[in-house]
Symmetry: C2
Subunit: 256 residues, 2 copies
């Protein structure tokens, strides 16, 4: 039997989640004033410390602005938020996936992936090259086992990103991977063609070993285009289903 660890949540975490959800979902518009800390205590039935811890976190996340003596207001997270918000934005109130967010993630992946491969080919250390080779070998040993390939592909990119020696890419990748992780089961089939293309992963690993940045870039681009195309087809199909009229989702379309 497979049991999951019990997930515990501190009070301040619960307060944070509730407020973050309200803000990110737009139930509290930018500029709106939050209730005072003491009022929140009453509404949420917790002590002030828990509320303050939550508010401080929201402030740091760029969701609210706290002013000593002057109240607390909601910010426009699209202007002040950071990438880690992606995983919060991915799901809608009803638990369905927000297609616009999913599309955004795939687009960013497609834009950064080739450049990650390029930089890795230029800068990778022997240790990185070896790791990539081992991962590809494992992929070749798991042809057909899609979930295993997905897992290996993620680890492949973990290594590739760290080999690119670009801290901005590493940090951005952390957020993208978090979001992608939430979509794993959904995407394993959609991205099947990309995941099964072990030859391309091999080609990237080889290009990195040779220091052939041009080749690494092109292979990576072609590889990611497979997945991107597949995703966009799915999105278009759902959008068509929900309301015909355009090839892209005009508003927040969803999929369960």
């Amino acid at each position: 039997m497979s049991l999951k660890p019990i997930e515990r949540k501190s009070l301040s975490d619960a307060v944070f989640d509730q407020l973050q959800e309200a803000i990110v979902r737009g139930r509290m518009a930018p500029g709106a004033a939050l209730p005072s800390e003491r009022t929140l205590c009453e509404m949420l039935q917790v002590n002030r410390g828990a509320v303050r811890e939550a508010l401080k976190r929201l402030s740091q996340a760029g969701l609210i602005a706290i002013h000593h003596g002057g109240g607390t207001r909601v910010l426009d997270f699209k202007r002040t938020g950071s990438l880690h918000l992606l995983s919060q934005l991915l799901y809608t109130d009803e638990g369905t996936i927000n297609l616009r967010v999913a599309r955004s993630v795939m687009e960013m992946r497609a834009a950064l992936g080739p450049d990650v491969a390029r930089l890795c080919a230029r800068r990778a250390s022997p240790a990185i090259e070896r790791s990539l080779g081992e991962l590809v070998a494992e992929m070749e040993a798991h042809q057909g086992d899609l979930p295993a390939l997905q897992d290996l592909a993620i680890r492949f990119w973990d290594v590739l990103v760290s080999g690119a020696d670009n801290i901005a890419y590493e940090l951005a990748y952390n957020s993208l991977r978090d979001t992608y992780d939430d979509l794993r089961e959904v995407l394993v089939e959609v991205l099947g063609e990309e995941l099964r293309d072990v030859g391309s992963y091999r080609a990237i690993a080889d290009a990195v070993r040779r220091g052939d940045d041009l080749s690494a870039t092109h292979v990576a681009r072609a590889l990611m285009e497979k997945g991107t195309r597949a995703i966009f087809q799915v999105i278009a199909a759902i959008a068509e289903d929900a309301g015909p009229g355009g090839e892209t989702p005009e508003h927040d379309e969803e999929v369960s």
Copy 2:
């Protein structure tokens, strides 16, 4: 006369800053145990609430992991941190600029910029198109005034990013812009050639209006390459200065 607002800092902010600095600078290695909350109170001479608020924030930022009853440990922020850390990483202990971080930011800018232009050309609303046109007109009216051009260029990208209708790009851009803002004075000269190229901004705005995504992409790429090349020359020169041996900084080189 130009007076700046007095900057105040709450105790928990001060605690947060001190700990974040220690972690990000590597003075506390990943896996190391933090002192207990009560110990930190004594060391920092503040009450426990302030310490807890700071620790909660560090936890959310992916810098530490708090375990109820089991202590608090430092995480590897390169694996768990988010993009907003960039602005913290930009400066070294001595207040000099970390060239590897600066290079990372410029590389990410160069990778995302053209795709932002592409998506904006595909999806921009008439309001966005008009904003871009107005900004370019202002640029043309300020030829030669480099600081003004820099300001307008930032606003140009603000609009372009929001027009791309990609939430991931918007959030990532927030962090990049924060980091870039810290470098404004330093970069205004280095990026002079890029900033003076108002024709390219005009071309992008026009391409967006026409919905010509291909043209928008190419012009944006060419535009950013000017700046990227300039930056890399400066970095190479400094690296050469500090210690000859390679065209890229081998370790954390710095510039005041």
